[in-house]
Symmetry: C2
Subunit: 436 residues, 2 copies
């Protein structure tokens, strides 16, 4: 392997090609530095639009890019598909699942987060979250199969449960999912079924806290709630979910029969802190120093959703793409300084640019702090911003065409049930998660 062939260069190993890792590696090439980028997937995923794959608007390939294609002209970058299982801090090696190890001079862990079920791990099979393309196609399959089964179901109670959809957690992902599911049921699908009226479907958005979009100002939260209710979503606030079963959810004391449940309520960091054997916060995020270094290890950085970064005002940095990208850019800045023999730059400082969320096809909320937008103007801003942040002309045109098509035809373009090979055995059962 050429890893050993260039002893004079500084070897940077980056684990994770999410927003943080990608921003770091895409920084301008630096002489004397070679980079190995490791991810357990072959693609970078534009997670902010993943809910549109789950709700049949976009195709998987429209929001995912092969990582190694992004760096084909960067001969200083080697891409590896592999799963990291640990870090040998003393030996300065990253350990991979196949038993091999990659030596590093500097290591950056940008391994993100997964869902957290607050200790109720058995809920995962019943209420999938939304982090990967497979999560999205799982949710898409379960949702579409519920309508198909309702069409064949003759028992009214079972049919009612099949036509009840619960989204747990009213952050941006939960709000966006509930809005599109409501549009799908109440505006698009109803003409296509003969035995059921999909407009009778119940879409529940269940939130333990007192309002939707808690990170936004109260006025925008109130607006978002009204916009959701206008689409036909039942917004249940201050109502924690106490149990999830295959046949329904228990909200507080009340059991609601329900066959499709989506989890958008909590995330937990990847095991970066465990690999490094350093302290973590309650969500498992590694407690780093103001330079984003693991304490006492200037050769190891932890960034993005898997890091807990100290801030001057004590407020946590939100788990959004711009925060991860700023940290990736900061690490590139530090490395450039070090390789040039200069002192480390000032500690990382997060600059909050704003929060965005959409509600269905024509409403959105945008909060810049100094300016707040809502309604169709916010929606256009949201759409243009997201097209802009996609990588490359191909995806921009493809996503814009899919949105344009949805807009003019009222139809979604990716209404596919896949992976459940046949109708009969593709049940939304607790075990199907294992096989996707």
């Amino acid at each position: 392997m050429s890893d050993q062939q260039l002893p004079d260069t500084h070897h940077l190993v980056v684990v994770g090609a999410g927003f943080g890792g990608l921003q770091l590696v895409r920084s301008p090439k630096v002489g004397g530095l070679r980079i190995t980028l490791i991810d357990q997937r072959n693609h970078h995923l534009f997670q902010p639009l993943l809910y549109q794959v789950a709700t049949t608007i976009l195709a998987t390939s429209e929001i995912a890019w092969p990582i190694r294609r992004l760096f084909r002209e960067r001969d200083d970058v080697t891409t590896l598909l592999g799963e990291v299982t640990g870090v040998d801090k003393e030996g300065r090696r990253v350990l991979l699942d196949d038993g091999s190890a990659i030596p590093y001079d500097t290591l950056v862990l940008a391994t993100g987060a997964r869902h957290s079920y607050f200790g109720r791990d058995e809920w995962e099979a019943l209420a999938p979250g939304l982090k990967t393309l497979e999560d999205a196609t799982t949710i898409r399959r379960r949702m579409l199969l519920a309508f198909e089964k309702a069409e064949r179901e003759t028992d009214p109670a079972a049919r009612r449960a099949l036509l009840t959809f619960a989204v747990i957690g009213a952050g941006p992902t939960g709000v966006e999912l509930a809005g599109i599911i409501a549009e799908l049921a109440k505006q698009i699908l109803w003409r296509e079924f003969r035995h059921i009226d999909t407009r009778q479907a119940r879409i529940l958005l269940i939130e333990a806290g007192p309002r939707v979009l808690a990170a936004f100002p109260t006025s925008l939260s109130d607006y978002a709630k009204r916009a959701l209710e206008k689409l036909g979503v039942e917004v249940l606030l201050g109502r924690p979910v106490s149990d999830i079963r295959a046949d329904g959810v228990t909200i507080g004391e009340e059991f609601v029969g329900c066959r499709t449940v989506v989890w958008a309520a909590g995330v937990a960091a990847s095991p970066a802190a465990t690999w490094l054997d350093i302290p973590a916060d309650r969500a498992g995020r590694a407690l780093v120093d103001p330079q984003l270094n693991a304490p006492g290890h200037p050769d190891i950085f932890v960034i993005g959703d898997t890091a807990a970064v100290p801030t001057s005002d004590g407020k946590p940095i939100p788990g959004i793409a711009p925060a991860a990208k700023q940290q990736g850019a900061y690490v590139a800045h530090v490395l450039r300084a070090r390789l040039a023999g200069k002192p480390d730059p000032a500690p990382f400082r997060y600059r909050h640019q704003g929060n965005l969320a959409t509600i269905g096809k024509s409403a959105a909320v945008v909060d810049f702090g100094w300016l707040q937008l809502r309604g169709w103007l916010a929606w256009w801003f949201w759409g243009i911003a997201h097209i802009f942040f996609l990588i490359g002309a191909r995806s921009r045109v493809a996503v814009a065409w899919s949105w344009f098509w949805t807009f003019i035809s009222g139809q979604h373009s990716a209404r596919l049930i896949t992976q459940g090979r046949k109708a009969g055995n593709a049940d939304a059962s607790p075990t199907d998660r294992k096989t996707t």
Copy 2:
């Protein structure tokens, strides 16, 4: 269910929404006829372009349409997602996997074909065929993973096997797959890897018969073979495969180490003949009479790839989309006559319109009988014809854009490894087929 509510109408049950079944149901609405269309998938699939999903050019949703959306304005058509398990001919009922039964007045079985491994069913897990979207994403995943693993592999023999791709069967599907895999390895991927040179990959097209594209005139077969070899495909003719193992294929007596194998060599009909308990040919196709009826059952038709239709010249009807569509249109014609109280029309007569196949991005062969085309003119004819046969403006624009993008950028837009959740356990192992 409303199935029982309209006793005065004639109930047509169509099983299978492939080219034949769809053509039949899309025929103009007939008064007094109501239709139930049953498929085990929620989508109609444009199989002629499925190889482009397998080879990363097209997204799944670009060549698949939700069946019920196609009939949303036809209140005489009910769509059911369900798996047929048998037919009760005496009771005139179709039996479904959930134990329910659908009564019919007329039944049309248009259930297509699957791969046939000539009695070596254990090969299926090692050499997937190409009939469904899942087949395509399975082949795509295995092919891309082979390159990824080769990049990490240090043993030269293992690396060589990972970079050897075998396509078995040189009909149109085998030729089209081999051509694109060769282009991917030799023209697109090589700049993205650092430890391997993907241009060294071997792509074997293995055929037991004496030439590629046996259904075409010899001159076009010879041209196709030369065009494949120009792309770097090794075309092995008159070489039957005698064994397939996880580590390679045996061609005649010669073992070739190889980790990715695709099966394009044979198909077997769906079990329609078994359900009906009527004679079948060697490939399992139901032997129907010249009206496409099951013998002695004028109320049951069998069409498309699952039927063996008698012809005046004794030549079998090819298993291609136009043949299935003609049969679907013929059954609609017969039913219209019967419902109008007229005698049955003349027996079905197949009109062969031609054969098409492409070799990579710029060559193709077209055989109309009276005219033969090859090279770029044939390629353009092929492309325009396929865009034309797609359903609806959305897919036409999306596919045209994907092709245009591939053409101008030299990049494919759907290079995703999905379903193998993580790099380490997503091996192209004999068991991964079970889990997709």
